[in-house]
């Protein structure tokens, strides 16, 4: 009974509908190339496996020792050995032809956009420059968590790592590619239509490997142009005397050692430049210039959107997806709103209060002795509730 229940659970798990990381649901030409190979191979291997299990099971039960005489022992049967060699060879040859062809197809590097992807414990950074899908990027853009790409456009990722080996994988768009320190590997992505496609680091990379997630967000060319324009917009300081203005000072004092907000200037007018290389093992921390345009934080693990808004965005049609996504946490809020309807404030508040409680890391004082004080995640800054209020007010304007 228990075995039957277990088998049924495994069987029915394959029927899951809400499975965004299902490798059998390709959403782009590269993933479809893989699917065209793996799906028939899965069927062939499944049939071969069933035959093998059936023969072994039959042999075990049928020829169990019941005290019968030992059967005649023979050695060598040429026709059987040749047959059992030729059949697998033919199957493997049949498998090899489409597999090799698919490998060469996937190695195609022609593209209309190149994006640097850099992994570190435990998040992904993306930086853009040049031209992407016909959209001019006049200044480098640095973002994290969400890879924003133009839909129906071949994009080439140049993947590396700052600390240990990671692996970049968004199953709906392509296979995996390891991110190896000191090496630069390429992987082509292309999404058929606008939407959000999730992934996961697939090379064990330390304590919070399971919380190193990522997503590709595909937008129409017009929406991608809007996204680029917004990312490159000049910094607008909070209005003087507001909570956000106080939060700007708190950010400079508490956060800007590691986190960059482009355009931010100190009281003396000099640019505030983050120096994460002095505080973090990887030498980098997420750029927060446009934090509120993203839908999740901390290695794309915790939603910045409320559950209802998340459902709305994820289930949006390709036609309406872009306009919703570009509003970020200000989705459904209207142009005159002072407070975003879709903002999961409790999540960000909890994160600022104690990051390690939400995402295990090596950032407490007793854990950084071996790294000369450098952390592997965000440390607990022991912020007061007032400081958290100020920071949230400031960050809400990073949109």
């Amino acid at each position: 009974m228990a075995v039957a229940a277990f088998a049924a659970a495994v069987l029915f798990a394959g029927c899951a509908q809400d499975a965004p990381q299902d490798t059998f649901q390709p959403k782009g030409p590269n993933a479809r190339t893989i699917d065209d190979v793996q799906r028939p191979l899965f069927y062939v291997a499944g049939i071969v496996g069933l035959i093998v299990f059936a023969v072994i099971g039959y042999s075990i039960i049928r020829f169990k020792d019941r005290g019968q005489d030992m059967p005649e022992q023979t050695h060598g049967k040429t026709w059987l050995e040749v047959t059992l060699t030729v059949i697998p060879a033919v199957i493997l040859a049949g498998v090899a032809i489409p597999t090799v062809a698919a490998v060469f197809d996937l190695d195609d590097k022609s593209n209309e956009c190149v994006i640097n992807v850099t992994g570190q414990q435990w998040w992904w950074e993306y930086d853009y420059s040049g031209t992407c899908g016909g959209v001019e990027i006049t200044q480098p853009i640095v973002t994290s968590g969400e890879l924003v790409i133009p839909a129906d456009t071949p994009v080439l990722l140049r993947i590396t790592s700052r600390d240990v080996i990671h692996s970049y994988w968004i199953p709906a768009l392509n296979g995996k590619r390891d991110a190896v320190p000191g090496r630069l590997q390429t992987l082509r992505m292309e999404a058929d239509e606008p939407g959000i496609y999730t992934g996961q680091c697939t090379e064990f990379c330390g304590l919070s490997h399971a919380r190193m997630r990522q997503a590709a967000v595909a937008l129409s060319t017009a929406d991608f142009q809007t996204w680029v324009t917004n990312q490159l917009a000049a910094y607008v300081a909070p209005e003087a005397g507001t909570l956000a203005a106080t939060g700007e000072g708190t950010f400079v004092n508490q956060c800007s050692r590691c986190h960059q907000v482009n355009g931010l200037v100190a009281a003396d007018g000099t640019p505030v430049l983050a120096e994460p290389d002095l505080y973090v093992v990887a030498g980098a921390a997420p750029n927060l210039t446009n934090l509120m345009t993203r839908t999740a934080i901390a290695g794309w693990t915790f939603d910045l959107l409320t559950d209802a808004c998340r459902e709305q965005l994820w289930n949006a049609s390709p036609e309406e997806f872009g306009s919703l996504y570009l509003q970020g946490v200000w989705m459904n809020s209207g142009p005159d709103a002072t407070k975003p309807v879709c903002f999961a404030e409790a999540t960000l508040r909890d994160w600022l209060r104690d990051p390690a409680a939400m995402k295990p890391n090596y950032a407490s004082p007793d854990q950084v002795a071996s790294t000369g004080g450098l952390t592997r995640g965000m440390p607990n800054l022991n912020l007061t509730e007032d400081q958290i209020d100020q920071l949230i007010a400031f960050l809400l304007e990073r949109k």
Binding site: K64, D65, E275, G283
Partner: protein
């Protein structure tokens, strides 16, 4: 009720359960967790094998035949002396010596002790599997030869490969090529002749192989004692006291020992070419066929470029990687590269170029205009 084979696996299961409990209780941290997971896995595997043996009644032991319980008495005396107690004693002695001397002695002793225990256990079990000594020896072979042959073959092949690698590391690169070619040709030719000749006695073949392997290992030991040659895979000058060398023009020194052939072409951020007309261009990985004078790289990431000298004289590539607060300018360069040759230059820039008081760029000293700007967002 229980067959001989299932008894052994039940014993192993019990031992694994005890070990898992003891290990889980006494060891903490990731090592303890992983080891306990391993031991629990062993429990599951041994229990599964015990069940299989019980169900199939050891596969081919006709234990239900009449009278077999008398003829296969477990009380029968062992066949003869065993070398494994001696092996286990050597292992235990090595453990003690290794604990107070070198870790490698301790680790090797653990392997020796485990091997001796497994061999001893299986031999002891097999000698009582039935009253037929020949059958018992056959059972032992079937159990252990599947492990012994691959392991011994791996050790033997590893020793030969390791000895050969010592020879190649000692010889200079040109001689190494010829050694590889000659020995490879001899092995292939010898194998071909032996395979084709039907009259070659097995003893002769074994003697030739043994003598060849011993000779190779002897040369390997001599080479290891002699020490490997100096290897310059990616000659780079990054000593601050030699910064002037990177920034001055002219040929400077050329590292004649370096290969000046780089094969890591698929994993670098760019290939940089000094062309005949003195222009310095980058072919950036991912931007097919386009020559760039600007290179965007992520901060704090270890990356590399390959410098190809297509000019008519020896030149070096110098990277100026920024002058950041309270630090001198970071500069490194390749040694001078012969015309037509290449060299690898690795670098890591910790901060954005906005934080640098000097430009970030690749240059070829002494060649005006040979510059590629580096952008670090």
């Amino acid at each position: 009720m229980f067959t001989t084979g299932s008894k052994m696996f039940l014993g192993a299961t019990t031992l694994s359960v005890v070990a898992a409990v003891v290990f889980a209780a006494s060891q903490g941290g990731a090592v303890g967790l992983m080891s306990t997971v391993g031991l629990v896995t062993a429990v599951i595997i041994f229990a599964f094998l015990a069940g299989i043996n019980f169900f199939t009644r050891d596969g081919n032991t006709p234990s239900m035949q009449q009278g077999v319980e008398q003829t296969s008495s477990a009380a029968q005396a062992p066949v003869g002396r065993s070398m494994w107690p001696l092996g286990a004693a050597v292992g235990i002695g090595g453990l003690i010596v290794g604990a107070v001397s070198k870790p490698v002695v301790f680790k090797v002793s653990v392997v020796v002790l485990l091997a001796a225990i497994v061999e001893w256990m299986v031999q002891g079990w097999s000698e009582r599997a039935s009253a037929d000594h020949r059958y018992n020896a056959n059972v032992r072979s079937r159990m252990l030869n599947a492990l012994e042959f691959p392991i011994l073959a791996t050790i033997g092949a590893g020793a030969v490969v390791y000895a050969f690698s010592r020879v190649l590391l000692t010889a200079n690169p040109d001689a190494g090529r010829w050694i590889f070619v000659v020995i490879g040709a001899l092995v292939v030719t010898g194998g071909f002749l032996l395979a084709g000749g039907r009259t070659t006695p097995k003893g002769t073949v074994a003697a030739i192989c043994t003598i060849s392997a011993v000779a190779l290992m002897g040369v390997g030991v001599a080479s290891a004692i002699s020490g490997q040659r100096t290897i310059h895979p990616h000659p780079v000058i990054d000593d601050p006291s030699q910064k002037a060398l990177c920034l001055e023009g002219g040929e400077g020194e050329v590292d004649e020992h370096a290969s000046q052939d780089v094969s890591l072409k698929s994993s670098v951020v760019a290939n940089i070419y000094l062309q005949e007309d003195g222009d310095l261009v980058a072919l950036i990985n991912g931007y097919s066929g386009i020559e760039y004078h600007e290179l965007t790289v992520p901060r704090s990431a270890r990356l590399g470029v390959i410098f190809h000298n297509d000019s008519g004289e020896a030149q070096r590539l110098t990277g100026r990687f920024g002058t950041f607060p309270d630090q001198p300018e970071a500069v490194s360069c390749t040694t001078a590269v012969h015309p037509g040759k290449s060299a690898y230059l690795g670098f890591e820039i910790p901060k954005t170029n906005a934080a640098s008081s000097t430009p970030l760029e690749f240059i070829v000293p002494g060649v005006d205009g040979a510059t590629i700007q580096i952008v670090v967002p």
